[in-house]
């Protein structure tokens, strides 16, 4: 038992390292001369092989964890987000074999790694299933949703590549600022992952007592408290005193802890971003542009569309149809306007609009790329904000 769990976490770590190495190899393909003649080149082939081995390692993680827990590891935030990263890699591999575009890997793999790193911020213990989750539909629904999302993420990756390649960086415009904003948000997420991992490794802990709906409740901070819970009292000795209280209007369990994490993400993310700007001495997107000069914009645009064309039906099936069937089986109502359901509907509406605009109003290229970026934002909103901030049936951690 214990050895299975150990194997499982080792394999996840191995997968992470392999994705990291593969990312470097995908980076080397920019300089690879063999790729000029043949589409992918030797370095590209090596990189995709490493990616596939990484995916296999992650599948071993998945299976061993399944064996250890007795249920498919998709039942809490850690397991689901990790699985999402795995689906992103799988979708990337499929699309690589269709289009042989190495640059896709240079962007897709780091994003998959951010997902896995973000996942490990949540409790990683194997948790038992509550009665409402005990159903075959857990596997069917969650895996199809994750797969659909993973494929839709590739459209974001393609969109991002398109924008970095095509947005004119000669002068500062609304477009360059927006693109830079997207990259800045990625830095914030990295900031969150970095600071959480550092203090997680140090086992940092500060306990506060505060008043939640008239009941005295305790909350554990794993980051030094900048913002304490509203009118909260620090119980732990020898830790940093909070600078100020979380505003009163931020409600709900652990509002203070979440707000504190957001502040830390901003601080570290902004620092990292500023550092990058200082080194590069220009906008990050402007610095990346020359690397992408060999990428054909038409091809990236095609990948953007193709991944929506494949991802949209899969997402519909998993996120709306299978979800409804399960809800009907568990609660006798296939639709209940729970925030997670509503945001799945919003995602569906959004990609439906994307397809209509593209197929019938000719929104190709840059417009499509922006839409793909927004679509990714909506899915992330559903994953992060809805789960952690808006309460509902799916609030895991």
């Amino acid at each position: 038992m214990q050895s299975l769990i150990e194997t499982s976490s080792t394999m996840l770590f191995t997968a992470f390292i392999l994705y990291l190495v593969a990312t470097f190899f995908f980076g080397f393909t920019i300089k690879d001369k063999t790729s000029k003649n043949k589409k992918s080149g030797i370095t590209g082939k090596l990189a995709i092989t490493l990616t596939i081995i990484g995916l296999i390692a992650q599948i071993v993680y998945f299976i061993t964890r399944w064996m250890a827990s007795g249920h498919a590891p998709v039942s809490n935030m850690f397991e689901f987000v990790t699985f999402l990263g795995m689906c992103l890699v799988l979708a990337f591999i499929i699309l690589w074999f269709i289009y042989k575009l190495n640059m896709l890997g240079l962007f897709a793999l780091p994003i998959a790694m951010i997902f896995i790193a973000y996942a490990s911020v949540f409790p990683t213990e194997i948790a038992p299933l509550v009665p409402s989750l005990k159903s075959h539909w857990l596997y069917i629904h969650v895996t199809t949703v994750a797969l659909g999302s993973g494929i839709l993420f590739i459209s974001f990756v393609a969109g991002l590549i398109y924008l970095i390649r095509e947005v004119d960086q000669k002068e500062k415009t609304k477009r360059t600022t927006s693109l830079e904003g997207v990259l800045y948000i990625i830095f914030l997420i990295i900031g969150f992952v970095v600071i959480s991992s550092v203090f997680g490794a140090l086992n940092y802990n500060a306990t506060f007592e505060y008043d939640l709906n008239g009941k005295t409740t305790q909350t554990e901070y794993h980051l030094p408290a900048i913002a304490a819970p509203f009118e909260g009292a620090l119980l732990t000795d020898n830790v940093m005193e909070p600078w100020f209280d979380t505003p009163e209007w931020m409600h709900g369990a652990d509002a203070g802890r979440k707000f504190n994490s957001v502040i830390w993400s901003f601080i570290i993310g902004t620092l990292l971003y500023a550092l990058a700007r200082l080194v590069l001495r220009k906008r990050i997107s402007a610095a990346m542009q020359p690397l992408l000069k060999n990428v054909k914009p038409d091809l990236v645009d095609e990948i953007n569309y193709r991944s929506v064309a494949i991802g949209f039906p899969v997402f519909t099936l998993g996120g709306l149809i299978f979800a409804s069937i399960w809800a009907q089986e568990a609660w006798g109502r296939f639709w209940g306007w729970d925030p997670k359901e509503v945001w799945a509907l919003i995602t569906w509406f959004f990609y439906a609009a994307y397809l209509h605009l593209r197929l019938s109003r000719g929104w190709h290229g840059e417009k499509s790329a922006w839409l793909a970026v927004i679509g990714f934002g909506i899915i992330l909103f559903n994953l992060i904000v809805v789960n952690l901030v808006l309460a509902g049936l799916h609030s895991y951690a």
């Binding site: 194997i126 948790a127 039906p313 568990a330 609009a353 209509h356 019938s360 809805v386």
Partner: protein, 572 residues
């Protein structure tokens, strides 16, 4: 209606852009599809006459044109999207938590969320998804779906059905893929024909003019998926009719038999046992997670029940006439299904008070023997109880579900979840009555750190009562009343549903998925061979994936003198 006769002899309806039969551009209508400004023909709807692009005079025309616009459809979607998003910021009325300040939305939202909550409530976002304007928005999307589909499908279907193999030259040379070869032999054309047929193209020939076509059905994909969506919207509409959809709820105690509500007294349920299983805290796999969560995690909620069908209507309620339908183990994700109804395990209550026994003591002498005792059956409450020694206890106030709120003492519900009493006690030979408050066992248990939602109080019934509050009405009270023992019932909450609309939703969803796949993963490809003097004109069109069509053509003309088509796409 003004018809337009083409030189090929075909009579086209008004508003046609390209002749339905031969494809010759009809001069006066070229602006409709923007062909007048471009070299290539707009082939999206085959240049057919759509109502929306033809008429714009009457009110009906204007309404039709409004709803047939994709732009309007996208805007409606965007508005629905934003409204839906706002509706998720705060919980809906039905998701107001049980431990909220008040379950009255007029109080809950402003009290919990301040000004924003007040605005949210006043704008009706607390029940957004059943508000009139949201429903109108969804209905408008439905109307747009229907009109968009009809506006395009009918003329497109006509045009594709009436198309001829023999096309006008100006139709051929204004296609995106086009080539002209001056000298081609009949054998070469035959080879191309055979190769295309092998690639599953269907060939049509007319005076040596050839059209090879495949995958036309993919053009219907969008309309098929829209039909699926319309079926789903209609199903949602008829679901509001009570006959089609029934939802009710029933609480059944262990050992009790009750009529299943919503079945017109047709079915009865007998609850034999309610089971609540929890994960063992020392479970090898889960002990870390359980320790971290710091509370008991349930693993199963289950009601073992028997369903009966009522006998003759005349002897309604006569249990011996009930016909047994079957034994069911109803748990989460395993509902009981019988006679078109479904019963879902939805709630439970472990600690419903049924009987409480009290003892009366001398005030300052708790060690002494009780002066007397009385038992209150909470389902058969009397106004006063006379004890053996002549003491009379009158029930002055009874709160079945006691709660101390800001505005004083209230009973949250009428269920006996947490009983509390105000007693007036009169002892023999004493004119005056004295008042005391007894109860709030749950409140006391929770103060001890007992989670009463998962822990059964039954085994501790005799102890737990002694922790309950006993507050004398004044300092001069001679007697005090203490809870001696409590009997608890376990109740199971089951929701009852009957939904005749489910098959419609299933059919709608299946049709939608078929339509999406049909339209997305197949392409409608056509290749035209147009003889001209000794040679031919070659043209190709597809609704998507031009690369695939080019490959098909390349393979078909391989080794012949026919020139490969060129992509004439203009840069926008």
């Amino acid at each position: 209606m003004k018809h337009i006769k083409c030189e090929c002899g075909h009579v086209n309806p008004e508003g046609t852009v390209l002749c339905e039969a031969c494809g010759k551009p009809i001069e006066q209508n070229q602006h409709i599809d923007g062909n007048d400004k471009k070299k290539l023909l707009n082939m999206r709807y085959e240049g057919s006459a759509r109502r929306s692009t033809t008429f714009n005079k009457t009110i009906v025309d204007k309404v039709w044109n409004f709803f047939s616009s994709v732009k309007v459809a996208v805007w409606l979607i965007v508005i629905a999207l934003i409204a839906s998003g706002i509706g998720t910021i705060l919980p809906l009325e039905q998701y107001i938590p049980a431990d909220a300040i008040s379950r009255d939305p007029a109080i809950f939202y402003p009290e919990t969320y301040g000004l924003f909550g007040k605005i949210f409530y006043q704008l009706g976002f607390h029940n957004l998804y059943s508000s009139w304007w949201y429903l109108i928005l969804i209905a408008l999307i439905g109307v747009s779906l229907v009109i968009c589909s009809i506006d395009r499908f009918v003329p497109l279907y006509r045009a594709l059905k009436l198309q001829k193999a023999k096309r006008h030259e100006s139709f051929i040379n204004r296609q995106r893929l086009y080539s002209e070869t001056p000298n081609v032999t009949a054998e070469e054309v035959l080879t191309v024909k055979e190769r295309l047929a092998k690639k599953r193209y269907r060939l049509k020939e007319e005076d040596n003019h050839i059209v090879a076509e495949k995958g036309r059905f993919s053009r219907w994909g969008p309309y098929v998926n829209h039909i699926g969506l319309i079926i789903i919207l209609v199903a949602a509409l008829i679901r509001t009719i009570p006959f089609f959809y029934m939802s009710d709820y029933v609480w059944v105690r262990e050992g009790e038999m009750r009529v299943v509500p919503g079945t017109n007294g047709e079915y009865y349920i007998e609850n034999h046992e309610f089971i609540l299983d929890t994960y063992a805290e020392d479970d090898e796999r889960f002990k870390d997670a359980i320790a971290k969560q710091g509370m008991i995690i349930p693993s199963n909620f289950q009601t073992n029940a028997t369903i009966y069908k009522a006998g003759d209507a005349e002897v309604l309620g006569a249990e011996e006439d009930h016909e047994k339908i079957g034994d069911f183990q109803i748990s989460m994700n395993k509902p009981a299904k019988f006679g078109g109804y479904t019963l879902y395990q939805q709630g439970y209550q472990l600690n419903e008070f049924s009987k409480m026994t009290f003892k009366v003591y001398e005030m300052n002498d708790p060690e002494a023997e009780a002066l007397g005792e009385f038992t209150i059956d909470l389902f058969d409450l009397k106004s006063e109880y006379e004890l053996e020694n002549g003491i009379i206890v009158e029930v002055s106030e009874y709160y079945p579900d006691y709660s101390l709120a800001e505005n004083g003492v209230t009973s949250k519900t009428n269920e006996s979840n947490n009983p509390a009493f105000i007693f007036n006690l009169q002892s023999p030979g004493n004119e005056n009555t004295e008042t005391s408050f007894v109860g709030d066992v749950i409140g006391s248990a929770e103060k001890l750190g007992i989670d009463t939602s998962v822990v059964e109080l039954k085994p501790m019934a005799n102890v737990i009562g002694t922790f309950a509050a006993t507050v004398p009405g004044s300092e001069e009270n001679q007697f005090k009343i203490l809870i001696d023992s409590i009997q608890f019932d376990r109740k199971s909450g089951l929701s009852v549903k009957r939904d005749y609309t489910l098959p419609f939703f299933v059919i709608g969803a299946i049709i939608f998925m078929i339509g999406v796949i049909q339209g997305m993963y197949w392409q409608h490809r056509r290749v035209w061979i147009h003889p001209k003097k000794n040679g031919i004109l070659l043209a190709g069109h597809t609704n998507k994936n031009w690369f695939g069509l080019k490959k098909d053509i390349e393979k078909a003309i391989e080794g012949t003198s026919i020139k490969m088509v060129e992509d004439q796409k203009e840069d926008e």
